[in-house]
């Protein structure tokens, strides 16, 4: 891994993830690194959906911050031209009904079939699930934007999830600071190395099996 601070790594992942988004499409951004992806979207046909009730999320200037206009992470956002508001049932009807093209999510773990765990840690109280399970079953395409390893250096891309899974559905793509994987037929295919990263480094930091062409 390059010597990059945590914030720089997050932005690198976010910037790479944004390249996967070409309009017209509707995209839901999860909390954490996925939220940063918004900063790197420069296509006005990429419409951002937030499950707390807004289609047409945009950034907001400090002086325009409205405490009642936030995203799913409760961070202040702006309202794009052509935006619309709706209640939670209608918002999740969009998600669960298959009307969101892409969901970009963070995870705790992902296994080598693309199944993820991002809502609970065994031994700790299971206290929050939010919209994660809904997005997994509903979004047409799911992309993970995540750091490759945990703070202790252990891999987040595992042979098998040890935490409770979020859905039986496999995600479509995994983007980390080291590499980009596609999930094809429930196996991981390395399709890109991030600048300066070697395949050996990826192998060393990835517990899961993956195919490299």
């Amino acid at each position: 891994m390059n010597v990059l601070d945590k914030k720089a790594i997050q932005h690198m992942i976010a910037a790479r993830t944004a390249k996967e988004l070409t309009g017209p499409c509707t995209v839901n951004l999860g909390i954490g690194i996925p939220t940063l992806v918004a900063e790197y979207i420069h296509d006005d046909k990429v419409f951002l959906h937030t499950e707390n009730g807004l289609l047409g999320v945009t950034d907001v200037e400090e002086e325009d911050i409205d405490p009642n206009l936030v995203n799913a992470g409760k961070l202040p956002v702006g309202e794009a031209i052509g935006a619309s508001y709706f209640n939670s049932a209608n918002s999740f009807a969009m998600i669960r009904g298959g009307h969101i093209d892409v969901a970009i999510l963070g995870v705790l773990q992902v296994d080598q079939t693309g199944v993820i765990a991002n809502w609970a840690v065994p031994g700790k109280n299971i206290m929050g699930v939010g919209g994660a399970m809904d997005l997994l079953v509903g979004a047409k395409k799911v992309i993970l934007a995540m750091t490759h390893t945990n703070k202790d250096g252990s891999s987040k891309i595992l042979k098998e999830c040890t935490y409770p899974i979020t859905s039986t559905r496999s995600v479509d793509m995994i983007i980390t600071e080291l590499a980009v994987f596609k999930v094809v037929d429930q196996s991981l295919r390395l399709i890109e190395l991030m600048p300066g990263v070697t395949i050996e480094e990826v192998r060393a930091k990835t517990e899961a099996d993956f195919i490299a062409d």
Partner: protein, 228 residues
């Protein structure tokens, strides 16, 4: 017999021990802060609270929690208040965790007279372990029962004197759905206007859903929650 109440405790008079109460809001956004404050000042116990989360530590529903007035919480994200976990560990509160979409949809079902429905959300996960699974057209679904309540306390932007409601930006969230799913619906608003002042096309919650209206005394601002 006006729906408008100036005394918060009068508006909340219908809340009884053991009631199930829906509480609007996504965090503090769109939460009925005045009515929640009213509940903390009311002598009531054994409440089941249906709300996305149970406030933050010592704030909003978090106060009600610390007062041990909540017997059970039904929501999607209790993580925002660490006290919830502590109470749960001590066996002082029951919790039912639902995916956020299931929480919203189950209340919509309750409001629409639907007994229950099948969703794909949660299939194959821990949250579905005790739930009935059914295959429809080759796809697996789980059964989710409708949610209803004795009382809903919600937040809207404006009410007309009949009880028609409009909401403000993302402060809408669960409020319109909860307005349909409880026997008695109490709303707090920024402003009460005459019926002709809300256009028929902009009304989100028609007046038939609303029983009592109060003016908000606690309001979320950029500086946090302030007395209005």
């Amino acid at each position: 017999m006006s729906k408008i109440k100036t005394d918060i405790q009068v508006a909340l008079a219908c809340v009884k021990d053991g009631d199930t109460i829906m509480v609007g809001g996504f965090g503090l956004i769109g939460a009925p802060l005045t009515l929640i404050d009213g509940l903390t000042k009311k002598d009531v116990k054994d409440l089941t609270i249906i709300s996305n989360n149970l406030g933050e530590s010592g704030k909003g529903l978090g106060i009600l929690l610390n007062q041990s007035k909540i017997k059970k919480g039904i929501g999607s994200y209790f993580t925002s208040n660490r006290d919830v976990g502590d109470k749960y560990q001590k066996g002082e509160i029951e919790l039912q965790l639902l995916p956020q979409g299931t929480l919203a949809e189950s209340m919509r079902a309750g409001g629409a007279g639907i007994g229950g429905y099948y969703t794909k959300t949660g299939v194959g996960t821990q949250l579905a372990e005790s739930k009935e699974e059914r295959e429809i057209n080759g796809v697996k679904y789980i059964f989710e029962p409708a949610l209803t309540a004795n009382v809903a306390i919600i937040r809207a932007h404006k009410a007309d004197t009949l009880g028609n409601l409009v909401y403000y930006k993302t402060a809408q969230n669960f409020n319109p759905v909860m307005a349909t799913a409880a026997d008695i619906v109490i709303v707090e608003v920024d402003e009460i206007v005459q019926p002709s002042e809300l256009s028929p096309e902009e009304i989100v919650t028609p007046h038939l859903y609303v029983d009592y209206i109060v003016e908000a005394q606690q309001v979320l601002t950029r500086k946090g929650v302030v007395q209005n």
